[in-house]
């Protein structure tokens, strides 16, 4: 899900958002605290609104001035943002663990002999729904088409009457909302804590294995990396589980630099 957010931002703005994990962390913490105060539904609405505002602000204040700057600048900006978000979250929420309200029934569902947690099942459903929604959105809706055009070429889409800057903002907001959806599952599995941001790191191999500009790739990459990691953790050792995704990443980008599902750009390097 984080991977999806990164892909959506990258697709339209060509900025690789390293702060996506941190945005999700903020969403978890915010969701946890607001839902205690205003009830589950109220908390959801408030969190989504606040997340969208944060995303808008981040895009407008920090990344807009960098259009036209070299790539390092944007890269470092997202990292600096992630530090800011992490530090800010530490300041506001401290180091405590925040309990998330129970969203899903806790008893596992038995399918013959395999026990599946309900959260996991719901996460699968959510990924499927979001995936189809995005495919439809990009194919059918005018805004989605505009976003695809922007992804193709900023200058031409600008001259065709698409407001590229708006598209940038919209992609950031969508990514923030996706981060919120991801945070729902994360929150109900493990609660809100400022170290949640580390999960963002795991999304990068997923994104790159799948291909930076492909939604299918993001989801498949997520599955591949997640499965590999749990296999390695299960059969070899826990420490190796953190490294294997990166080794796989290195091999994949050496062989197919644009990822397994990425759009191959003809470009001499």
């Amino acid at each position: 899900m984080i991977a999806l957010g990164i892909v959506i931002i990258f697709k339209s703005t060509k900025v690789f958002n390293l702060a996506q994990g941190h945005i999700m962390m903020v969403a978890v913490l915010l969701g946890a605290t607001t839902s205690h105060k205003f009830g589950i539904i109220g908390g959801m609405i408030i969190t989504i609104a606040v997340m969208a505002c944060i995303a808008l602000l981040l895009e407008r204040l920090t990344l807009r001035p960098l259009i036209g700057q070299p790539l390092v600048a944007a890269f470092l900006m997202t990292i600096a943002l992630s530090y800011l978000l992490e530090g800010g979250a530490l300041m506001v929420w401290g180091e405590g663990l925040y309990n998330y309200p129970q969203l899903f029934p806790s008893e596992a569902i038995m399918i013959s002999t395999i026990a599946i947690e309900q959260e996991t099942l719901w996460a699968f459903v959510a990924v499927a729904v979001i995936f189809t929604a995005f495919v439809l959105f990009y194919r059918k809706v005018l805004l989605g088409k505009a976003m695809r055009a922007t992804a193709e070429d900023h200058r031409i889409s600008q001259s065709m009457g698409i407001r590229v800057t708006h598209i940038f903002s919209i992609s950031w907001v969508i990514a923030a909302i996706l981060a919120y959806v991801a945070s729902l599952f994360l929150g109900s599995i493990s609660g809100g804590h400022y170290l949640n941001s580390q999960l963002g790191l795991k999304a990068f191999p997923a994104v790159l294995v799948g291909g930076l500009d492909s939604i299918t790739g993001a989801i498949m990459g997520g599955f591949i990396v997640g499965l590999l990691e749990s296999f390695v953790t299960g059969y070899l050792s826990g420490e190796m589980g953190n490294v294997v995704p990166f080794i796989v990443l290195l091999i994949v980008i050496l062989i197919k630099p644009y990822g397994l599902f990425g759009l191959v750009r003809i470009e001499r390097i």
Partner: protein, 354 residues
């Protein structure tokens, strides 16, 4: 380069000289003497500790600056290459029984070779993919030291070494360490400054600005990219080996992704593609660190206790993030550019333009 009126270059040697005029030579001499006498002038262990770390980081930052600022190959795994140098130095000393002075260049070479290994993807990768490859290098290298052969690298406990000796001088005080680190830092800075003006340095800049055009101009892209990786990581290795002598213990958690990002932040703050910028950046960030350390206790007296503890934990992160954001927006060319502007102003004062 601007010169005072009436000073002309009459031969090629003068034209390419870095130090051009007599006053410049004098200031350089005074500066070097100042560096030499610094421990005597300020016999303060804490201050010397700061200066030593500044100089070690400067060497490392020069490497990253050559690799990222000049050759344009962004590396987000530079701290890991420092780690390679540090571990190489420690293991050569412990298991090879090699003299520390031989270990310094050897660990530089080792780090350089590992750098070439991870620089290989740079032939096919560009931009974010290369960043990810270097982040992957970062994780793979630290995990290697953490888990591979605990009997050699001692896992999370790290390797420790005896203090470095030269004759009967033992480098265990900050003052002695200063005299170990300072000359190497000066030599490496001088070498970096000259390297970036050489054929190779100009080739790096050409690759950074437009790799296609550079290749058409007859620059062997792959060769020069690998050379950039080698030199950058060589610097990191030297810095790593000095770090070993400085701390006398090498642990994997000294070289995390966070540290790599700090190094990148330093060259942004100092100014990419400027050797002076690297030095300024390190000093600035280090002073900022000290400032935050100094500020936090005084904040805790003003604010309520539970809030203050949160602030102190987050302060470093927020300040660093904020400074990098501000520099990126307001002065993307870094402190070095500011310094140039200041010099111009001074030269033309009281006029606005020269």
């Amino acid at each position: 380069m601007a010169r005072p009126a009436g000073i002309f270059d009459v031969c090629y040697d003068q034209d390419i000289a870095i130090v051009r005029t007599v006053p410049q030579w004098i200031t350089l001499g005074i500066f070097l003497i100042f560096l030499l006498l610094l421990p005597q002038l300020f016999p303060n262990r804490y201050l010397l500790n700061i200066i030593n770390t500044i100089m070690i980081m400067t060497i490392s930052v020069h490497g990253l600056n050559i690799l990222t600022g000049f050759a344009g190959q962004i590396s987000a795994g530079h701290a890991a290459f420092m780690g390679v140098g540090a571990y190489a130095c420690a293991s050569f000393m412990t298991f090879g029984g090699i003299n520390y002075w031989v270990c310094i260049p050897l660990s530089g070479l080792t780090a350089g070779l590992v750098g070439i290994l991870f620089g290989l993807p740079s032939l096919r990768l560009k931009g974010f993919y290369l960043i990810m490859a270097t982040i992957a290098a970062q994780f793979i290298i630290t995990a290697f030291f953490l888990h591979y052969k605990p009997e050699i690298f001692e896992g999370a406990r790290g390797m420790s070494i005896k203090p470095v000796q030269l004759g009967n001088i033992i480098f265990n005080t900050q003052e002695n360490l200063y005299y170990l680190i300072m000359p190497i830092a000066v030599i490496m800075t001088c070498f970096a400054q000259n390297l970036v003006r050489s054929r190779m340095g100009r080739a790096f800049v050409a690759i950074r600005d437009n790799d296609l055009a550079a290749e058409i101009m007859g620059i062997n892209l792959f060769g020069y990219k690998l050379r950039a990786f080698f030199i950058g990581c060589f610097y990191a290795g030297i810095a790593g080996s000095l770090y070993t002598a400085f701390l006398r213990v090498v642990r994997p958690d000294q070289f995390t992704l966070m540290d790599s990002i700090w190094l990148l932040g330093i060259i942004i703050i100092g100014g990419m593609g400027s050797i002076l910028g690297g030095i300024l950046g390190v000093i600035f960030v280090r002073l900022l660190d000290e400032f935050v350390l100094w500020l936090t206790p005084s904040l805790s007296t003003i604010l309520p206790a539970d809030y203050a503890s949160r602030i102190s934990a987050a302060m470093g992160l927020v300040v660093f993030g904020l400074v990098v954001v501000l520099f990126l927006i307001l002065e993307p060319r870094g402190l070095a550019h500011r310094w140039e502007i200041l010099k111009e102003r001074f030269r033309h004062w009281p006029f606005t333009y020269g």
